[in-house]
Symmetry: C2
Subunit: 335 residues, 2 copies
């Protein structure tokens, strides 16, 4: 396989704002979601905590899709710690332990320069290997809010998606408004200063993906939903030719009417792929609810499915493998 899957982990304090993220059973538990997602890809269960990340209502992490696609297509994965509270207990590339700060109180990521520099060095090394394509997924609770803040600062009239069927847009917008007030900027004011948008409102996942993408000069698949729009927008504003980039996500993100995925992707000028996963016939409510707008994307689920499809598997086979993995989790829980 000429493709390498990177899973970039990031935390931001924004995920602990009550109601803003469902990428964890409680706001506090969102801090553990990135390492737990990474660990679950390599083991039967996470190591740092005894259960996979779930929403407050119990919907399983999209890591289960990535794990399913990987079990089918056997693509290589490297975990990258862009900046998290805790290190995952699996081998991982260390970039930083800087988390994104609450941008209502101060700049989110004063360390963006160092993170980009290190991630770029890593990307440059990967560029010298025979790997032809990076597929870069992420696990970043609260990341759709930081993404929307960055997009707004850069003048995009974008709404990002959410892991909840009721996208907390008004809460996101309130928080972003407070951040803009604190920073003393208006929407669009950082159009020509993407790194300042990143410093003020971003998160370490974004900085890491940007750095790796600048260092690696071959094909890059940004495996995520609306968060990867912010990454693409920054890369374009930095002068990168987006023709070597693609965003791979799921159809659940694309059909989310509370967000502007396709419109904003078109505005930025980046091509997209949407994995045609379908959990409507699952025997488990936790998975069927994906069809009702829960979870939608994350941990590079769309990009992982894309790799499985390239390897000759159908989205239906990925869905079946997800079902099998979820059954295994339920049996472990029951035993």
């Amino acid at each position: 396989m000429k493709s390498l899957f990177l899973l970039v982990l990031g935390n931001t304090e924004i995920s602990t704002v009550p109601g803003i993220s469902v990428a964890g059973a409680t706001p506090e538990l969102t801090k553990l979601t990135p390492p737990a997602d990474a660990e679950y890809l390599f083991h039967e269960k996470p190591l740092i905590i005894d259960a996979i990340p779930v929403t407050p209502e119990g919907h399983p992490t999209p890591a289960i899709i990535t794990k399913a696609a990987r079990e089918l297509a056997a693509f290589p994965i490297l975990v990258v710690r862009g900046g998290t509270y805790l290190a995952p207990l699996v081998p991982h590339v260390h970039i930083s332990d800087s988390i994104g700060r609450d941008f209502r109180r101060g700049p989110a990521l004063p360390e963006f320069g160092e993170i980009i520099k290190r991630a770029r060095l890593f990307g440059e090394e990967l560029n010298k290997t025979p790997v032809e394509e990076l597929v870069i997924g992420e696990s970043t609770p609260g990341g759709t809010t930081t993404a929307q803040a960055v997009l707004w600062a850069m003048g995009y009239d974008a709404r990002t998606s959410s892991a909840s069927p009721e996208n907390p847009q008004s809460l996101k917008e309130k928080v972003i408004g407070e951040g803009f007030k604190r920073a003393g900027i208006d929407r669009g004011e950082l159009r020509d200063n993407p790194l300042e948008a990143l410093r003020q409102f971003g998160d370490p996942m974004m900085a890491t993906v940007i750095g790796v993408s600048l260092g690696f000069r071959k094909k890059v698949v940004l495996a995520g939903g609306t968060q990867m729009l912010a990454v693409s927008a920054i890369l374009m504003a930095l002068g990168e030719d987006l023709s070597r980039f693609m965003i791979a996500t799921t159809r659940w993100v694309v059909k989310d009417r509370s967000a502007t995925f396709l419109e904003t992707a078109k505005e930025i000028g980046v091509v997209t792929y949407a994995a045609d996963l379908d959990f409507s016939k699952s025997e488990f409510k936790g998975l069927r609810d994906y069809e009702r707008g829960y979870v939608k994307e994350g941990v590079g689920a769309g990009g992982a499915t894309w790799l499985a499809v390239k390897a000759g598997f159908s989205p239906g086979e990925v869905s079946e493998k997800v079902e099998e993995l979820y059954r295994r989790l339920m049996e472990m829980k029951a035993s």
Copy 2:
């Protein structure tokens, strides 16, 4: 390039025994040598400290050879933190922060199992990429003593090399004797229990290289001197077919009469390569002294030279590039 160079960093408390290691200007500074070596490969100078690692008499780290070979052949490098006091300030794969303990007082590496497991997972992922060959170097002050202890425990009548022209063999043997007494074992007693030898007397570099080598199933070049004999001996005892392995070192190790490199390699049954570097005509005493038995090997210098030779450069060109890099360091120091 189908080869990937890994630089595995390890520390052991043994390096702070006065007189046992010259991989640092003082015993205390040997703690910083692994991260400083790694950083120097990517930057003009290390970051964690303002100068490259040197022996107490000022001889430069063999990282300068690795850096020279890399500047010529442009092979990719990933730094791997097997277990060190401090993390290098460059991107690196985190395996552990467990250092090897002084084996005179207790088992050296109770964490060997976890380190091997994680390193193996990393090796398995690399195995799925199109990389065809791993060249694994190391930076581990004090590592020739832990290597000799492991080899003795496994019944090899080996003497490891040293970065000093006066190999402190009697001190090494005294320290090893105390370790054997503490553990209550005789030479050769752990012949059939290589992992116990590793646990009692090894270091995290060894455990990491073993784990990676078990996970990666293609060609592996162990880039080091007598320390890689201990790694090879353990791999063989674990049932690995050594035909996919080679040890690449320098001619300074091979011609070291105080050590038994070729004899022990033959006994283990692993093929060797010796880089034909020659610093005798250097304008710098620090480099000319390599010909008098200082430094000899480390940071995968022999394996890096081998990669440069495979890419069409001569050992003479590598030596010239070393001269150029050293001149640059001297100019920076003077300015």
